[in-house]
Amino acid sequence: MTEVTELERPEGEALNTREVLLNLGPQHPSTHGVLRLVLELDGEFVERVDPHIGYLHRGTEKLAESFTYTQIFPLTDRLDYLCPPSNNLAFALAVEKLLGIEAPIRAQYIRVLMAELARISGHLLITGALPMDLGAMTALLYVMREREMIMDIMEMITGARMHTSFCRVGGVREDLPDGFLPKIREFCEIFPNRIRDYEQLLETNRVFLKRTQGVGIISGEDAIDLGLSGPNLRASGVDWDIRRDEPYEIYDRLDFKVITRTEGDCYARWRCRVDEMRESIRIIEQCLDQMPEGRFQVDMPTIAFPVDKERVHCSMEALIQHFDLSAYGFVVPKGEVYSAIEAPKGELGFYIISDGTPKPFRMKVRAPSFVNLQGLFGVSNARYLADMIAVLGSLDPVMAEVDK
């Protein structure tokens, strides 16, 4: 290599090795959204990376201050749009803590079931998208097939495919529909085999393995220092899962494994997610087995909408209740709360300060993708520009959540 350069170099002139400043994004397929990386390149080596974010900033936190608590649910949908049920759940839990109420058991099961479906949906995308970034296109097409099944189930439950807004403070919007059970049982039966398909496709793909194994290693200490959470942290050998360590809803009744890897490279992060999907299927099956009959909303007319829509049309009290809740919302007692859940991307926390009115005084979203993106600075051995793509893909940031 050097010899060729020596031969081609004009006599007497020094080789020009200027550093190049390269803009990767904001519109680039492998930045997974509108992320702009300003890269300082020395040849093909990345010397410095400076992520510029905010292209998708919608001011969720500012907007929330002018919305009632029920109106905020659609805003939370649009954070991590791959898994809205998790975001809804995190927000609902925070408000419920402030109110000092708990959703009925059946509602808790429904929420957990949907959150786990959402986790599969989110993980599925990265299972296919990371290999696609690295040139293995096939897997993406297969994962889309299974995501379609989840979308259909979501549509069946909520009427919406993406922005479900299904949670409410104190429960969920509706009960599970008829005909839902056979559909999700079918999915649970089919899906583990499909995971095996992806593994066979990708674990024998030498290009994929070469470009992920041993690339982009983040050590456990660095990962904690950089605030990574979720599968990104567990892939670095840190055994922490909020579902197990601070169980919310009915997670303490469920039996599941927390997947950890020790390598901390891109492959480990990918692998963690694939294995987590298996655990999610187990959780969904347990939810289906254990789910009791009962209410799906708290029996509190000042907080929950009337269950029976027919009554709204013919009963004055129900009409007033419905109108009051829609127009003015409900009052949340003064106080502040931080409540975190294990979202598919990591620790999703809502910090809410209430001043005793129907609108939050301050709502802060601790968005996991926002923090996980800082993992780019903790990578020790990805020096090539091409490795940067692998690292970025394996960190799995959703830009809508990064930019809030």
Partner: protein
């Protein structure tokens, strides 16, 4: 979250005692009010004390308590991976808000502090790279302050914004828009 053992607050109170205010557990999280000049020392103590080990910084956020004084607040959420405790540190700041950066304690504080600077104008002293993170360079004002209008200020690009102080750097904020373009203000129906 009743399964968690309560926080062992003895070492904290022993070390800082009168300087901080112990606000007790609130919804499962122990809250301490710390004066801004002690924030780095307090955070470092929580992180490095062998019985506490708050090694994970969940979040830093700014709060605007307008029109109260002191007006601003920086709120830190810490987690101890070893003991599974959570702590909230509240730090009231005057106007203009200023507090020492904790980037030396946790690297993850970097972007959180940049966000608080961008949205509330809290200046973190000693931060290595305190730039705006969401808004563009040259943006005027701090959008999440309570006195910043929800729709922003009216200018050429934002015909529906509130009347307000004219931008001090017009060449940065407004761009050339052809005459008669659709962006001229039109009353909303």
């Amino acid at each position: 979250m009743s399964v968690r053992p309560p926080l062992d607050r003895a070492p904290i109170l022993e070390r800082f005692g009168a300087a901080i205010e112990d606000l007790g557990p609130v919804h499962g999280i122990d809250v301490f009010a710390v004066p801004p000049e002690q924030i780095v020392e307090f955070c470092r103590f929580l992180k490095e004390h062998p019985a506490l080990r708050f090694n994970f910084l969940s979040d830093i956020c700014g709060v605007d308590h307008y029109p109260e004084t002191p007006r601003f607040e920086a709120v830190y959420h810490l987690y101890s991976l070893a003991n599974k405790w959570r702590v909230r540190i509240k730090c009231r700041l005057g106007d203009p808000p200023q507090v020492a950066s904790v980037t030396g304690v946790w690297r993850t504080a970097n972007w959180h502090e940049r966000e608080a600077w961008d949205m509330y104008g809290i200046r973190f002293e000693g931060h290595p790279d305190l730039r705006r993170i969401y808004m563009w360079e040259g943006f005027e004002g701090f959008p999440q302050r309570k006195d910043f209008p929800l729709r922003g200020y009216r200018d050429k690009l934002n015909p529906f914004g509130a009347e307000g102080p004219p931008p001090t750097q017009p060449d940065l904020v407004t761009r050339d828009i052809p005459e008669g373009s659709q962006l001229t203000p039109e009353p909303r129906k």
